[in-house]
């Protein structure tokens, strides 16, 4: 039987790593299962790893890049003794406490688990989109914008992420067309103003991408206006999709209560889930705010909830240095 750990944190975005900083400082020796490398948002560090400039995280008046911000979070967690494993949790059994988590065949037992697996960006789900992934269809604007220098690009979506990507891509592209299925954008006022003022940005409202065209590389997208039914072909060398997110909760089906959309349900004003000793923080339980700062905030809440819960059950293997109540 493996040693029982006090706290295991699954996920390493702002929520997971903030929970790691707090539980490490409380002397709970957390293990962070940070995930595995990919080129999409489901990777160590989370969605911010594919974000260029973070301009709204307090404390960085000149902005900071997503990867730099996440490296700082990680360094800070390690400084206080958090153990970080670059691996993916493959299976859980939340029948405790203690609860069990598997990395491959390795079983880990934990009194408290903090779930912070976040959300991943949705793709359109078209067969040709998968076929041309890496050949013009991209999941990473910061990685692949370069290849479309002087060429036309399409960005699908109407929220902040879509406009941020579209604005960033105008550094390279001859023209960026934003395709949005509704007649108005969801993005914040400041992002909209910035986008509208950008001469390289064009908009196709009430429009969806029906197909992605090209033999070996992306050559065009087929657009359909949902109001008029008009269909047209837009030649592009690149397509970037920012149409929303889906929570990474498949692992927890059957154990944790979730909404129809897959988001975890937490007790109002806390990070407690329906299972004793399992806490949830960050985008995995938040489809409303979805900010780095709110994720970090709820990671802190989860750490404090877990600390106090462990203290109340009295079976931590360590002496807990509780986070002061009058911080």
């Amino acid at each position: 039987m493996p040693d029982t750990r006090d706290v295991v944190i699954i996920g390493s975005g702002p929520a997971g790593l903030t929970a790691a900083i707090y539980t490490a400082r409380a002397n709970l020796h957390p293990l962070v299962i940070e995930g595995e490398l990919t080129s999409n948002t489901d990777q160590p560090g989370g969605q911010l790893m594919l974000t260029t400039d973070v301009e709204n995280y307090p404390g960085f008046p000149d902005g900071i890049t997503g990867p730099e911000l996440m490296k700082s979070f990680r360094d800070q967690a390690e400084r206080f003794g958090a153990e970080i494993r670059t691996a993916k949790a493959g299976k859980v059994e939340f029948s405790g406490p203690p609860h069990r988590i598997w990395i491959g065949d390795e079983e880990i037992e934990a009194r408290a688990v903090i779930v912070a697996t976040g959300a991943r960006a949705l793709m359109l789900g078209l067969p040709n989109e998968q076929r041309l992934l890496g050949y013009g269809v991209s999941t990473c604007a910061t990685c692949d914008g370069f290849f479309h220098r002087g060429k036309p690009i399409v960005v699908v979506g109407g929220g902040d992420s879509a406009l941020e990507e579209a604005t960033f891509l105008t550094r390279f592209a001859e023209k960026v067309t934003v395709v949005h299925r509704r007649d108005q954008l969801r993005a914040s006022k400041i992002m909209q103003d910035r986008a509208m003022a950008n001469p390289k940005l064009e908009f196709e409202f009430d429009t969806v991408v029906e197909d992605v065209l090209g033999d070996d590389v992306l050559e065009a997208v087929k657009l359909r206006n949902v109001k008029t039914g008009d269909v047209k072909t837009l030649p592009v060398s690149g397509m970037f999709v920012a149409i929303g997110h889906v929570p990474n909760t498949d692992l927890f089906k059957g154990w944790l209560e979730m909404e129809d959309t897959g988001y975890l349900v937490t007790q109002h004003g806390s990070t407690f889930t329906n299972v004793e000793g399992v806490f949830a923080a960050g985008d995995v339980q938040d489809h409303v705010y979805r900010q780095a700062i709110t994720a970090a905030g709820s990671g802190c809440m989860a750490a404090i909830d877990a600390e106090r819960w462990l203290e109340s059950t009295g079976d931590s293997s360590h002496t807990i240095d509780p986070t002061p109540r009058d911080w």
Binding site: L37, T38, L133, G134, T139, C140, C143, G238
Partner: protein, 108 residues
């Protein structure tokens, strides 16, 4: 950079790839690409662990745009394995070490 990793440019590419007795895994990367940086340590390990079987080379696409374009690289990181000077295997996007070793197993 690790001793076992060759740096490729538009000028030395042909010579290094065509003249190599072992298969060469070329990492198309750039300074501004986050996932490229994440896989870099893994490629250094691979070069050290499999020295003699396979060579690892890095090609910075900012410094060698002609070669990147000649192989239709449109997304980075892209890894292309060249055997006898010809591209044999192409891996687009970052992935964990175990998955990479699996995809390259026949060359290691």
């Amino acid at each position: 950079m690790a001793a076992n990793i060759t740096t490729l440019t538009d000028t030395n590419f042909n010579e290094e790839i065509k003249g190599s007795a072992e298969p060469v895994l070329v990492d198309f990367w750039a300074e501004w690409c986050g996932p490229c940086k994440m896989i870099a340590p893994m490629l250094e390990e691979l070069a050290d662990d499999h020295a003699g079987k396979i060579r690892v080379a890095k090609l910075n696409i900012d410094d060698a745009p002609a070669t990147a374009s000649a192989f239709h690289v449109m997304s980075i990181p892209t890894l292309i394995l060249f055997k006898d000077g010809e591209p044999e295997r192409r891996i687009v996007g970052a992935r964990p070490k175990a998955a990479l070793l699996e995809e390259l197993s026949e060359f290691l």
